[in-house]
């Protein structure tokens, strides 16, 4: 088109910004998902600004992937923390389902109830579903989501192509409940998920005696539909179960690194 090749003047830029803002507001409604479910804010202003409508969409598919294979426990920990936040304490009676296929977490052991507690998830609410293969795992996930019974569903799935992710996203949107999926490190294929979080391990928060008081992750919001990407150092306090931005990266200047800028431009 001729307009795209012309340099953008100041007035054009303002009009364009207004149009993009309007589109951002309308898109979720047009897609059907997220229009009914209100989003759940992280409680971190710097992070919530990047998410559509200032929070995580409840009725949607979210992906969590580690930076490298060795970061899988960190990514799983972030998933558990996210799950606990999405499930919330309000729906006490509703369980949280974790569906895993045999090879998904096998390298890294099994979820340990006493360890889940530190990340704010009450193990009494958790129902573990271990399937024999990927097909069964996908079936179980969809079954659980469509039933709309659990407060949230999590799953460790190796294979997730565009078609399957669209199917799961649709199911989550219809049921209005969050579905969080743990992906392997090499996962980079296109997907219909609302967000993809890339998680890396980071030095833990310690008190003055050197004891661990909080888990920290380098959190990269790699893809975010109707939102912007970004990177933060997020901390979860083990006692209060609250997210906070760890001091070193809380400075907004740091999120304006060249890499982050490029990513944002891609998303825009």
């Amino acid at each position: 088109m001729p307009s795209s090749s012309r340099p953008i003047s100041g007035q054009d830029r303002a009009i364009r910004a207004a149009i993009v803002d309007e589109l951002r507001r309308r898109l979720p409604r047009m897609e059907g998902a997220g229009a009914t479910a209100r989003p759940l804010p992280f409680g971190l202003a710097a992070l919530d600004r990047h998410l559509p409508q200032g929070g995580l969409t409840l009725g949607a598919l979210h992906e969590v992937a580690p930076l490298a294979h060795g970061d899988t426990p960190a990514a799983f920990g972030f998933l558990v923390a996210l799950l606990a936040r999405l499930a919330g304490p309000a729906h006490r009676a509703r369980p949280v389902l974790l569906v895993s296929s045999p090879r998904a977490l096998a390298d890294h052991g099994r979820p340990h109830g006493h360890g889940l507690q530190a990340l704010a998830l009450d193990p009494a609410r958790l129902i573990l579903v271990e399937t024999r293969n990927e097909t069964q795992a996908l079936w179980a996930v969809e079954e659980a989501v469509r039933s709309a019974v659990p407060a949230a569903v999590a799953s460790a799935i190796g294979k997730l192509d565009l078609k399957i992710s669209q199917r799961l996203q649709l199911a989550a949107g219809e049921a209005g409940l969050p579905l969080v999926v743990l992906r392997p490190a090499q996962a980079s294929e296109a997907s219909a998920a609302a967000t993809r979080w890339r998680i890396g391990a980071a030095e833990a928060a310690r008190d003055r005696f050197g004891l661990m008081v909080g888990t920290r992750w380098t959190v990269r919001l790699e893809r975010c539909r109707n939102g912007r990407t970004g990177e933060w150092l997020v901390e979860l306090d083990h006692a209060t179960h609250r997210f906070s931005l760890a001091a070193p990266l809380a400075d907004p200047a740091l999120s304006r690194r060249p890499g982050a800028d490029a990513a944002r431009r891609r998303a825009g």
Binding site: P73, P111, H112, H114, L128, R132, E143, A144
Partner: protein, 486 residues
């Protein structure tokens, strides 16, 4: 002809019609039998296979009535008792039932001797000596008196003694005073006599525990398709629901019996997390269960009868399933519980009951014993508050993995460690947390463990332990990685 070893001598265990025509008797020595008939074909008897075949036949016979008992050793182990009380009218009376049974058995190539009587003992006697008799209640004495003593199901020894004493007919025993028999034969003789006349109860070991509620449908055309089976199950469940509602109970366990045309029976058991009377739920669970069973379930030429039995019930307040207004607190909770149970049952039927579990805490200091995975049906158990001073990993290995560790001093924290071929430099180490072995389970010499929460230079956190106290328990402590932190 079949032969079996009895006290070191091969003897005739069973003979077919042709062998019997040659005068071969069951129980005679094989050498005698060979002398009687030149063209005798001998095979070894296989009692295990006989038992299995009888069991299969008993399962098949549950298409007539759910209460079927294969005969035990004392009854000859070569037949079945069917308790047809309340079932005969479905076939148009007892006579119609046994003729139907005889025809079907004949189709399998099984010649059968059938009889109907009020007691198991009388039926056994008639089946052996007056086949195809249907004895009315109260007519036992007249009908059974002319039968020989053998009709009493006695041991060979008692039978021989009776013969020697000159008793040949049951009738001669019936009028005799009981006391001398008690002294001479202990319990057996009079017990069998009483059981036959209905004066003593005879316990039968049914092949399946008799269900509380049961519904069965015979099909004019055999079916094999899954949705056809599910449709029939829905109708069967509708029949059962009336009885369940009347008694104020719901089903907790179900058994689906599929009777194949060739006489094979497939039983599928289904356990439910919550009592239910819902027809759609049962139909769905059956559909999921059939989907899982498709590989093992061979419909052959189709199923000619389908039965649904409720094997376990639980009290269920009326109307609970019909609560839909989710605004009342109690109603919403019950509704959610029901939906939750339905989801869990669905997953269990389609995947495997062991696949759906819940974690439960166990009072143990050893991390691998501190929790267990329970069947989800048991309901959640409250977890103790976590202890901030004792951090626990997010992921625990079922079996701790050995690691090579370099430490500055043998009882100090690790400085570097190699695990799965990768060398990690330790940036921070927290610990040790000392966990003693459970001497009451592992013995007095089980090593103590010192756990360290270790963070490597990349920020990844590991849970390492040193097994054995240096110099006190062992000279060369070994190291293991037991878990991973987020």
């Amino acid at each position: 002809m079949l032969a079996a070893d009895v006290a070191g001598t091969p003897r005739v265990a069973a003979a077919n019609a042709a062998a019997e025509a040659d005068g071969i008797e069951i129980g005679e020595a094989l050498a005698d039998a060979r002398a009687k008939s030149e063209s005798l074909q001998v095979r070894a008897a296989n009692p295990t296979a006989d038992d299995a075949a009888l069991r299969r036949l008993a399962l098949w016979a549950t298409r007539y009535t759910p209460t079927v008992a294969p005969w035990d050793e004392t009854s000859g182990a070569d037949g079945l008792f069917l308790d047809v009380a309340g079932a005969a009218h479905l076939f148009g009376g007892e006579a119609a039932l046994i003729s139907d049974l005889e025809q079907r058995l004949a189709r399998f190539g099984l010649p059968a001797q059938l009889a109907v009587a009020e007691t198991a003992g009388a039926a056994w006697a008639l089946a052996h000596f007056r086949p195809a008799t249907i004895l009315a209640a109260g007519a036992e004495r007249a009908a059974l008196a002319p039968l020989p003593i053998e009709a009493l199901r006695l041991s060979a020894e008692t039978r021989r003694t009776m013969r020697q004493l000159g008793f040949r007919r049951i009738g001669t025993l019936l009028d005799k005073p009981r006391a001398p028999f008690v002294a001479r034969f202990r319990r057996e003789l009079l017990l069998r006599l009483d059981q036959m006349m209905g004066r003593a109860a005879e316990p039968l070991a049914f092949i399946q525990p008799p269900p509380v509620y049961h519904s069965l449908r015979y099909l004019l055309e055999p079916v094999g398709a899954q949705d056809a089976i599910v449709a029939i199950v829905s109708r069967l469940m509708q029949d059962i629901v009336h009885a369940l509602t009347r008694d104020g109970v719901g089903a907790r366990g179900l058994r689906l019996a599929l009777y194949r045309v060739d006489g094979d029976v497939k039983n599928l058991d289904i356990g439910l997390t919550q009592a239910t009377r819902s027809v759609p739920l049962v139909a769905r669970l059956i559909a999921l269960r059939l989907e899982r069973a498709t590989r093992t379930l061979d419909a052959g030429f189709g199923f000619e009868a389908i039965g649904l039995a409720v094997t376990a019930v639980e009290r269920l307040e009326p109307g609970q399933g019909e609560l839909i207004d989710g605004f009342e607190e109690a109603g919403a909770d019950a509704w959610l519980d029901e939906r939750c149970a339905a989801l869990i049952d669905g997953l269990r039927q389609r995947l495997d009951p062991h696949c759906v579990r819940r974690l439960a805490p166990v009072a143990s200091h050893l991390p691998e014993r501190a929790e267990t995975a329970l069947a989800v049906a048991d309901g959640p158990l409250p977890w103790p508050m976590p202890d901030a001073a004792r951090p626990r990993p997010l992921l625990l290995f079922a079996r701790a993995e050995p690691a090579e560790v370099m430490a500055q001093v043998p009882e100090g924290p690790p400085r570097r460690f190699r695990w799965r071929g990768v060398l990690h430099g330790v940036a921070k180490a927290q610990g040790p947390e000392r966990i003693a072995a459970e001497w009451w389970r592992d013995g007095a010499h089980a090593p103590t463990r010192d756990y360290y929460l270790v963070e490597d230079e990349a920020g990844r956190r590991f849970w390492l332990y040193r097994e054995g106290l240096y110099a006190r328990e062992t000279a060369a402590p070994r190291w293991f990685v037991h878990g991973l932190f987020a």
